[in-house]
């Protein structure tokens, strides 16, 4: 293989307001430049831009390590040491087994009816109102309720949880103003979580089970709190944004909404397409453990690569006509849940929630008319702050 003499590089700041407001044209330019593009704005960091290379990196943890490497600054990476997201096997697999005992499709199925009913009640109340804000009134309600109920958390943290989860994600970015603000907020969450003892978590809940197995797994209280934090934050912003993105997309594409209403069998495919089209998590990083050649470009060992899930999902090399939103596409292989050993542990739950909401909405609402959406900027999560909606039933 030949090595290009000057590797492709770009001075774009992927974490600036400007790019976060509209990342897709920038991603398209980076994809054109190469599968691995060095980012001048950061120190020894490359963007992986194309579907095949992102998936391959996610599937090869020996070369693309998560160990203290998933974020783009030292503060978060130090914090992530020993967490499920920020560690490699064998420690990672041990934590994952503890979470999957609760979150695997087999275990989570039993809550399907509960989530379906919660979605029905929620959408009924919104239909009665006729106009509402799809972010706080719809998208936020179900994940927040489900996560608090399932984990068995006391209500005292509820009012702050959205702000905390948002901060937890934004600090994965480089040390910009958003990250600095997030770093100030995180200790509040740990302070609250740190006060919780096993007895504070509802018996039989997912949160309680962490403490129940702590003895046999050799987790101390601090590790239990860390796992609790992962549970709570990972399933919050992500699912909320997926639901608000869905409403925005279906308002913009009424023909696609008609298709889902005419054939509810399309709901799983439609939810996959919503996730592909607007990846709730735009990017996570890895560190290469040795020199690797990516698409003819040598990336030196020790450098970080940013897996641009949001770019891979729009890669024309993998998805024909990628900027078209098509509920019949069923892109089951989208990158929005990642891939490989770190693939989203909560994807079965996220699907149950997403499908329940789409079903409840499609049974009752013929049209969404939306006002001016307001984007919420976060270094790695893409979603909305506000989306005024008026509905036709």
């Amino acid at each position: 293989m030949t090595i290009a003499s000057a590797p492709p590089h770009s001075d774009v700041d992927l974490f600036s307001d400007e790019v976060l407001l509209d990342p897709y044209p920038v991603y398209a330019r980076l994809r054109e430049m190469g599968a691995a593009v060095r980012l001048d704005a950061l120190d020894r960091v490359w963007a992986l831009t194309r579907y095949d290379h992102i998936r391959a990196a996610d599937g090869d943890w020996q070369t693309f390590s998560s160990d203290a490497s998933v974020g783009l600054n030292e503060v978060i990476n130090a914090r992530l040491v020993g967490s499920i997201l920020g560690s490699d096997p064998p420690w990672h697999d041990k934590l994952r087994a503890v979470l999957m005992a609760q979150l695997s499709p087999r275990s989570i199925r039993r809550i399907t009816d509960y989530v379906e009913e919660a979605a029905d009640r929620l959408v009924d109340s919104l239909v009665e109102r006729g106009r509402f804000d799809a972010v706080p009134d719809l998208a936020t309600v179900l994940p927040l309720t489900v996560v608090f109920d399932l984990i068995g958390l006391p209500e005292s943290g509820r009012g702050n949880m959205i702000r905390w989860a948002d901060a937890m994600f934004t600090i994965f970015g480089p040390l910009n103003d958003r990250t600095r603000a997030g770093v100030q907020i995180i200790p509040e969450m740990y302070e609250w979580l740190g006060t919780l003892q096993a007895e504070d978590l509802r018996p039989g809940s997912m949160g309680r089970s962490i403490f129940d197995v702590a003895g046999e797994q050799g987790f101390d209280h601090h590790q239990c709190v860390k796992l609790l934090a992962t549970y709570v934050t990972a399933g919050m912003d992500t699912t909320i944004n997926a639901i608000s993105n869905a409403v925005a997309l279906f308002a913009e594409h009424p023909d696609q909404w008609d298709a889902v209403r005419a054939d509810p069998g399309l709901i799983p495919s439609a939810f996959n397409e919503v996730l592909r089209y607007e990846s709730p998590v735009l990017a996570f990083a890895r560190r290469v453990t040795r020199d690797v050649v990516i698409d003819g470009v040598e990336v030196p060992g020790g450098d970080q690569v940013v897996l641009l899930f949001g770019s891979g999902n729009r890669d024309e090399r993998h998805y024909p006509d990628p900027d078209r939103f098509d509920v019949r596409r069923n892109p089951v292989d989208h990158l929005s849940f990642g891939y490989g050993i770190h693939t989203c542990a909560g994807q079965a739950l996220a699907r149950i929630e997403g499908h329940a909401i789409l079903r409840a909405l499609s049974e009752r609402i013929r049209r969404f008319h939306t006002g001016e959406p307001k984007r919420h900027l976060n270094n790695v999560v893409r979603g909305l702050e506000s989306l005024p909606v008026e509905i036709e039933t």
Partner: protein
């Protein structure tokens, strides 16, 4: 060719069964079941797609026999 499931890795998402419903299904307990032992060339192609979409890379194809 045969489909081989790495049971330690499989977390039961069933994405594979969505892609190859004639070859794989999840049983009532959510365990993945391989329905066809020896694959025809055409089935092998479908099975390869199923293996590609598995989020945890738990499926592979191996030579029969």
């Amino acid at each position: 060719m045969k489909i081989s499931v790495d049971r330690d890795r499989c977390e039961g998402y069933g994405v594979c069964a969505e892609v190859a419903p004639d070859l794989l299904h999840l049983d009532d307990d959510g365990e993945l079941v391989v329905d066809v032992e020896d694959l025809t060339p055409e089935q092998t192609e479908t099975a390869a797609s199923a293996a590609r979409v598995c989020p945890v890379a738990a499926l592979s194809l191996r030579d029969a026999g």
